[in-house]
């Protein structure tokens, strides 16, 4: 696929998200997400959205700009600042047959609704058999100098709760197809939109409203033979750049984009390791107990006899995301770090 990096801040204008594609017809990650929401709202009356400032204001990131004019304030609800209630209300509405999509202004604020997410949303179906077709979505991830309250990668917290499908797409097409799948899925979903990618990555995105990406399927974004880099989110783009540099030096890296971090697509991961015999698990959630910890354990446990080197993890340290650019850059894995890790693996 032809993916381009675009200048941050580029966005089209217009009432409908489709009208917000660039002149070349490509859609940014953000617009692809808006398109998914719009199409699903049109397709099914039971789908409705709630969150802070999403209606009249169009959302803090303008994802829902124009929605309230088309769908009305009942289906594009502005709520008080009450995250527990946003989540709880979504659950109650879902129990009575609606399909809510709750927006969190930043994924960081999901923790204000932690109890409702981890005690109610995650467990209710397991305990009592009532499906909860609820989608929680919001911008996550760092690298944008937004510091620790606007840069979190919260997926490990909620993966641990169980019962919630968690998606972290890296590309616009994946984002659109996955969000549609999440809205149509009868289980609770957490859809994390990496804010670094929002306006920086664009590509050809299908206009077919029935084109879905299956939840729980990883995707090989680059084929290779010497090492597998298992990753997700913004790190996929860093890995792709690193892979280009590594190829110049004769090291062929295969990049597996998880897309869904819970449940994991173990088959695709293991198949890649069988091919390359070396695994680098690259992730932006914290090193200790981040998503990559589970991936590494699965590889070590289930692909033991295919490994020619130890499974290596590369992730930020467990500290709050810092603000000052040199600090944040030291915090995040950079392309040079990825290359160095691959070099170590290749030379083990």
């Amino acid at each position: 696929m032809a993916t381009q990096q675009v200048e941050a801040g580029a966005a089209g204008h217009g009432a409908e998200p489709r009208g917000k594609r660039g002149e070349d017809g490509q859609a940014t990650y953000l617009i692809a997400i808006a398109e998914a929401l719009w199409e699903e709202m049109e397709r099914d009356d039971r789908v409705f959205m709630l969150g802070e400032d999403i209606g009249v204001y169009g959302g803090a990131f303008k994802v829902t700009e124009g929605f309230i004019d088309r769908f009305g304030p009942e289906r594009v609800m502005d709520t008080p600042i009450a995250e527990e209630t946003i989540v709880g209300m979504s659950v109650g509405a879902a129990m009575e047959g609606l399909r809510p999509v709750a927006e969190f202004q930043y994924a960081d604020f999901m923790s204000s609704g932690f109890d409702e997410i981890t005690t109610v949303l995650s467990r209710y179906h397991y305990r009592a058999g009532v499906p909860l077709p609820v989608v929680l979505r919001g911008p996550s991830g760092g690298g944008v100098r937004a510091s620790s309250f606007h840069s979190i990668n919260p997926e490990p917290w909620y993966a641990y709760a169980g019962g919630i499908k968690i998606m972290c797409p890296a590309f616009p097409s994946d984002a659109k197809g996955l969000l549609k799948s999440a809205i149509r899925d009868d289980n609770p979903s957490l859809f994390l939109e990496h804010k670094w990618i929002y306006r920086r990555i664009k590509e050809e995105v299908s206009e077919d409203p029935e084109l879905l990406v299956p939840i729980g399927s990883a995707d090989v974004k680059r084929e290779g033979s010497d090492v597998s880099i298992i990753t997700y989110g913004a790190m996929v783009h860093k890995a792709l750049e690193a892979a280009d540099a590594l190829a110049q030096r004769g090291i062929s890296a295969e990049i597996v984009d998880l897309r869904t971090v819970y449940p994991l697509d173990e088959e695709t991961i293991l198949r890649s390791i069988e091919k390359t015999s070396r695994a680098l698990v690259l992730y932006e959630s914290y090193r200790f107990l981040g998503i990559g910890t589970e991936v590494a354990a699965v590889i070590a446990e289930k692909a033991f006899e295919h490994l020619d080197a130890p499974v290596v993890r590369l992730a930020p340290p467990n500290v709050p995301v810092p603000f000052s650019p040199p600090l944040e850059d030291a915090f995040l894995p950079q392309i040079a770090d990825i290359e160095a890790a691959v070099d170590r693996l290749a030379g083990w």
Partner: protein
Amino acid sequence: MRRTVATKVEPDAAASGRPLPDDRLKEILYFLKLARYFDERMEALYRQGRLPGAIYSGRGQEGTHVGVAYALEPEDSLFPTHRDLTAQLTKGLDLNRVMAQFWGRIDGYLRGRDGNSHIGDWYGHRTYAVMSHLPIAYPVACGAALAYQRAGSGHIAMAICGDGATSNGRWHEALNTSAVFRLPVVWVVNNNQFAYSTPNAKEFAVPTIAERGAAYGIPGIRVDGTDVLEVYGVAREAVERARRGDGPTLIEAVSLRWRGHAGHDPAKYVPRELLEHYMLSKDPVKNFEQYLKDQGVVTDEDVAEIQARVEREFEEGHEYALASPFPEPGDVTKGWWVEDGYWVGEPGRGGGTEAS
């Protein structure tokens, strides 16, 4: 321009008139006596070591529980806590399956996935399966109410919590949100004056919980929770308000918790005189029974008949529970996702009835 709603604070108002026909009054008596007998017998079983898990006695609060639940229609939803099992029984839950839940059997409403009064039957009787975090179901009630409002169905949601839960942020969020959106919901607080060991005076600084409604712009009514008809009347009004689209109401029903927070708790923190006063003169079951006798609605024989029925149903439920098999251990990881199909159709019954 925002309307402010006056708060009615009426302690110990006496019930006036007979708001219901005789057969329904007798039904209320049945629920009260069932609740009392159930509570006493389960405590005995617990003390004998024959009841697994925990019990949370609602003794002395039957007036509240039966009163509010009796005001609901079948399609209205109820969001209770662990102490409100009586309200769920009043809403129509099957005693057999409730008992099976206590013994962790497959025929329990939650198929052994939760126990004792952490119970609910959403599809059968629209009750939310109780969770321990308090009051975690309050925001969920807002969601159900929102759905009713959008659909224009006329249904309402009712949530119950205790005095202690009103200190939690969720309580305030839910009341505020329900007021902002004018949701069809009734907020019931079962103020039995003690949150575990914490008395009201240490739980909140205002004299009553009912007056907190004003902070959110909704009416708050304080009522004698040991008078089932009083409670019923107030609940009925609140339900009708919600159904009409006039928004939420806060009901504070005051009683006393006669037993400890849970079976293991001797509740020595309850002052002796207070307890005696309530047990002797504010017994919801005895008082209502006497009232019906005085009004000529029931005779002694009628009462004995109801008592016998209650005892028989309890024994049958106990046997039913012990005869129901345990869940199959292999099912422990099933039921997370809708698509694994565990909750659609019948569960496996190969678990055996022997406890290990």
